[in-house]
Symmetry: C2
Subunit: 338 residues, 2 copies
């Protein structure tokens, strides 16, 4: 079986790897229907996170179950399933509280840019669709594995409610799906912070009512202008840099909420500044598993179409070009088909 391996910054190879097989009785092996490149894959690709050794890549997946271990009863061969980038048992106290990405037994699934995948803790991790989906639904279903679940969590964590004013920092796929999530949750006004035409267009399609092109303190000032000098009720932070985090915090009204899902890189928060903002802060790696049943229904019934974030589709063996296109911002997000 072949799959993507990152050797060094900028050097992704599609090469022979061991075929996955059942190791634990709680495992499943799936045949990939589609996988993709994540914004967070670009951190090591760009050398911002270190690459210590050749590393299999990819953590977004959906496909057909080929085989399950003897402890797995909730899904069976032939079903189409989706799982999170964190496998979870879905029974520990953290899972029961809805934080499956903090499962006490969580396992990161990190080799999904391949034709087949071993999924640990399959019973707790995988959720099957009602039937095997038609091919046109696959991209949207794939997004539920991470990017859509993450945008959704950003909106949940930012406490988006019907009629409220929401701002979204970051116009990558997560930010755009944060816009879609806020719209779905009934936000009255959705301000997308973006300076790229194609992303602004998709943001509007997903439900953005306003676009702010300024960043940093100027971006904050624009949000204040648009909200009677108060700030937004909810701000979704979908980048993970110091600038974007402070932009999100400062653009939020006292008592409002920041939902932050961009993996922080070099972010330090000054306790005293945070204190006087009166902002609520919640975020972390999205507990995608919590949202899978609800989001599968929304996609299945064609209420949402998050697959629109894929503006480049490539055969899996061209995965290297998929990374390049995203790195150079020629693509928002690359879908890979085995």
């Amino acid at each position: 079986m072949r799959g993507a391996v990152l050797y060094a910054p900028g050097d992704v190879r599609f090469e022979e790897r061991d075929a996955p097989k059942i190791i634990e009785p709680t495992d499943a092996v799936i045949r990939m229907s589609a996988t993709c490149v994540c914004g967070s894959d670009l951190w090591p690709y760009r050398g911002i996170s270190p690459v210590a050794q050749p590393t299999p890549m990819g953590h977004e997946y959906c496909g057909i179950v080929e085989e399950v271990g003897r402890a797995v009863t909730s899904v069976k061969p032939g079903q189409f399933v989706i799982g999170s980038f964190f496998a979870s048992d879905n029974t520990c106290p953290n899972c029961k509280a809805g934080y499956q990405s903090s499962c006490q037994h969580k396992v990161f699934v990190g080799d999904a840019q391949a034709g087949r995948l071993r999924v640990p803790l399959a019973e707790g991790t995988l959720v099957a669709t009602p039937e095997v989906p038609s091919d046109d639904l696959v991209p949207s279903l794939l997004t539920l594995s991470d990017v859509m679940g993450t945008g959704w969590f950003a909106a949940v964590a930012a406490n988006v409610k019907p009629g409220t004013t929401v701002a979204v920092v970051g116009d990558g796929a997560v930010g755009l799906l944060g816009v879609l999530s806020a719209k779905q949750m009934g936000a009255g006004r959705i301000i997308a912070m973006s300076r790229h035409d194609s992303r602004q267009k998709l943001a509007r399609e997903f439900g953005a009512t306003d676009i702010v092109t300024e960043r940093g303190d100027e971006g904050v000032a624009r949000i204040k202008d648009l909200t009677n000098d108060v700030g937004a009720d909810s701000v979704l932070e979908c980048v993970g840099s110091q600038e974007s985090m402070m932009q999100a915090i400062r653009a939020t009204r006292p008592g409002g909420s920041v939902g932050y899902v961009g993996v922080p890189h070099g972010v330090d928060l000054n306790g005293e500044e945070l204190f006087y903002t009166h902002v609520r802060l919640h975020g972390g790696p999205a507990p995608v598993r919590r949202f899978l049943p609800e989001l599968i229904q929304l996609v299945w019934n064609r209420k949402i179409d998050p697959g629109k974030v894929f503006d480049l589709t490539l055969p899996l063996d061209q995965v290297a070009e998929g990374y390049r296109a995203m790195d150079e911002r020629r693509a928002i997000k690359t879908l890979l088909r085995p």
Copy 2:
């Protein structure tokens, strides 16, 4: 009129100051029934916050209205009133959202350790009791001006609900009243983190079910031991140091909440660590005004007795000894009677 003035670390003097009078039509002048020394007064007293010039002190107050400006109609001379350390108009968007301590026109009330006090924005700031209270109720009513409202806000911000497990970091007056607040809100288990006998005793009296004497990582480990390795649902951070803040964050379960009300001194939060904790963070200067009507009722009907935190009562002219006793931890909190 005489009042307390801080000249330098450790040097509080009780000396002649200008008598307060109505300056703006929105002012009131009150005759102090009682005032007190706050834990936050100790920051400059200890030289941790700078003292640039002789500074009038005190921000906790209750008393009888003597005079009001012509724009003040909600309270009148002769009434007993309580107000927050932040005067607020109670009409701006932030006030309406319940964040009066982020009022767009807020004014810090910083000269309350005196016989009389000018209160700006009196219409929005002052709340009258049903009648002039009997003398034994005055200490508890005084706490509503800051320390009880702050402990209450810590519990609200930490999302305390009936039956949940709460931990309280800090055994000063705010922490102890955080315990009382959590109890009043129906917490099932309340873990007070304290290593001082007299404070442990009061914590138990206020509703603490467990005492943890360890601090830092050891304290966190004890909380984990007590909660099946998950962490507390709600943690109240009532100190404001780096150690106490990290202790609070690390003792909270994923998806649980930290309510932080200790004014941060040198606190820096690592974004990446915070991200992976999945903790909710909310706090800031307590919007005491929001809680005044409810808390006045609870004290008036003798449902709560927060005045128990005063374990030293002195005449106002001995204010310097009041600071010393708290600085040396001989007193939890000093009540001052003019």
